[in-house]
Amino acid sequence: MKKLALAGALALGLAGCSGSEEPQVLNLYNWSEYMPQEVLDRFTEETGIQVVYTTYDSNEAMYARLKLLDESAAYDLAVPSTYYVSKMRQEDLLMPIDRSKIEGFDNLDPELVNLDVDPENQYSVPFLWGTTGIAVDTADVESEVTAWADLWDERFEARVMLTNDMREVFHVGLRVLGYSGNSTDPKEIEEAYEKLTELMPSVRTFNSDAPRMPYLEGETDVGMIWNGEAVMGRDTLESLEYVYPEEGIIAWLDSFVIPKNARNPEAAHQFISFVLQPEISALISEEIGYATPNLAARELLDDSVANDRASYPNATDMINAEFQTDIGDEALQVYAKYWEMLKSGQ
């Protein structure tokens, strides 16, 4: 809602400016708290291109807006997660990225390019990757929390936070039961739903706006969090710990894509190249705590960041880790149905 209002205001502002035609504008549509202001400022300083920055808090919201505003070309650059890259690519919503205009692509981690979601990376350039794991406020929680299943413990009644993300929440339910987090089997999804209903009395809030906030506000002690949020949250709340659950962490990769009807694809390419500079990528990773896929940037990272397991997990942390994949529309509807049932407390 707040975002819609903001986007509306920006759109009006833009309509007002377009007559003068002078300053170039890049309409960047990104996850909330996913880009340091400094990077935007430096980009404007270097290129003279104004960045109109709008944010979303779920892939679904981003997709719906991009799709709706497809014709009006409201955005030049967006940052969907892996499974939405493949979905949008298949629905012909994206413009191929001209690699000749992108500098620094070779610095990207070979393990994070040419993935199934976009072979050859024709349509996407990896921006950041991260994980969704468990946050524990060790000041309030005494015994150790090591697995997703621990969230079901009775002592956490009304102290658990989940992200407001259908796929992630069901991922947890499915993994606890030993299924794949990308299951498309209605039976398994239903079972996960049953399992999650047992968790609901403990769930105090869903939050995907800034998942660290309920922990900082003292509303919740344990639950889901994105690793970058955990890193940022630790600055204020030192007792906030990030845990890699035994059943396996949820992993995702967010990539830059250019909507097919983007008004200023040139600026979008420029921005991607700008971010791919090792120095800028390192700055972003240090600032917001997510891992950069840029290997050249990894070498520039401050030791405290590079050795931070929350941002850069080691091989053991990633055992059982699962990347989210596109599950198709049919399964999505099944998830959506149970998600609604779950949240309305059925």
């Binding site: 809602m1 707040k2 009304a158 809030t205 003292g218 049932m341």
Partner: protein
């Protein structure tokens, strides 16, 4: 002479009003009705053929339950608004013209701030480390912070806060019209305070009560951002279901059908209100 100078103005006003109704009320509503009878389409949101599937889906007990829960929270909100608003409006009608203007002004001032911003402000007050808890703890009223945020209570507090003026204003207008003569007559005829209240004041202010109820009850079911912010995305309202269908589940026909059901419920209440108003008119003075 007069008609000549007034005619263009009159025409302009009529065109404006009809144009407004046509383009900003009728057209969007027709689009919603249209969307609700289309087929869900993953590619382009809606597509042919026409179907009543979305309405069939509404019969799912899940949504009945959401609707009832939503109605319950809206009813609680209305009740609290009424309990606060009724004496408030009464007092407001008694304080003298100058103070009235000031008080009504104060009542309206919050509207100058976006309701979303005010809801976030409420969050800061209700939070565990928030203003309210800190104040009560330093005063020694409570030892442990209360869990207020992300509860059903928080949602109702938020709704009451946003909607209270809509209860007070119609009540204020009926209290303004309440003539002292009736009250005096009632006293002279031997009625005590309580029976004057029950037999004279309540019936005379009933139209304001009903108007207030309508202005609070119906919007309360649609303010989806209040449960999102204060209820921790739990305690859903019908408004949340509609929003989720459009944004997350991308089931536009169903979202549209749900929104039409809400409109129909609203229309039904307004109809009932008119009926009751007519009856009060007949029975009253």
């Amino acid at each position: 002479m007069r008609s000549l100078t007034q005619q263009p103005f009159r025409t302009a006003v009529l065109v404006l009003v009809w144009g407004w109704l046509l383009f900003l009320v009728l057209t969007p509503n027709l689009l919603v009705v249209g969307a609700s009878v289309m087929t869900r389409d993953p590619g382009s949101f809606i597509s042919l053929p026409l179907t009543l599937d979305a309405y069939r889906q509404l019969l799912n007990p899940l949504y009945l339950e959401v609707f009832l829960h939503s109605l319950y929270m809206a009813a609680m909100t209305t009740l609290v608004c009424l309990l606060i608003g009724y004496p408030f409006a009464w007092a407001l009608s008694k304080v003298g013209k100058r103070n009235q203007v000031l008080l009504i002004f104060l009542l309206i001032v919050p509207f100058w701030t976006n309701s979303l911003v005010r809801t976030y402000a409420l969050k800061l007050i209700l939070a565990t480390n928030g203003l309210l808890n800190n104040a009560l703890m330093s005063l020694g009223v409570i030892d442990e912070p209360m869990q207020l945020l992300y509860t059903e209570g928080a949602v109702i507090i938020g709704l009451v806060y946003l909607l209270l003026p809509f209860m007070i204003l119609p009540l204020y207008s009926v209290f303004e019209d309440l003539q002292e003569d009736y009250l005096r007559a009632s006293h002279d005829l031997g009625a005590g305070r309580l029976s004057t209240f029950i037999h004279v004041i309540v019936p005379l202010t009933l139209p304001g009560v009903l108007a207030g109820i309508m202005l609070v009850l119906l919007p309360a079911m649609g303010l989806f951002f209040v449960p999102d912010i204060l209820g921790g995305s739990r305690n859903l309202l019908v408004g949340n279901v509609i929003k989720n269908q459009f944004l997350d589940a991308r089931n536009w026909p169903f979202g549209a059908a749900a929104s039409i059901m809400l409109t129909l419920a609203m229309a039904f209440l307004m109809f009932a209100h008119r009926l009751s108003k007519r009856r009060i008119g007949e029975d009253g003075v």
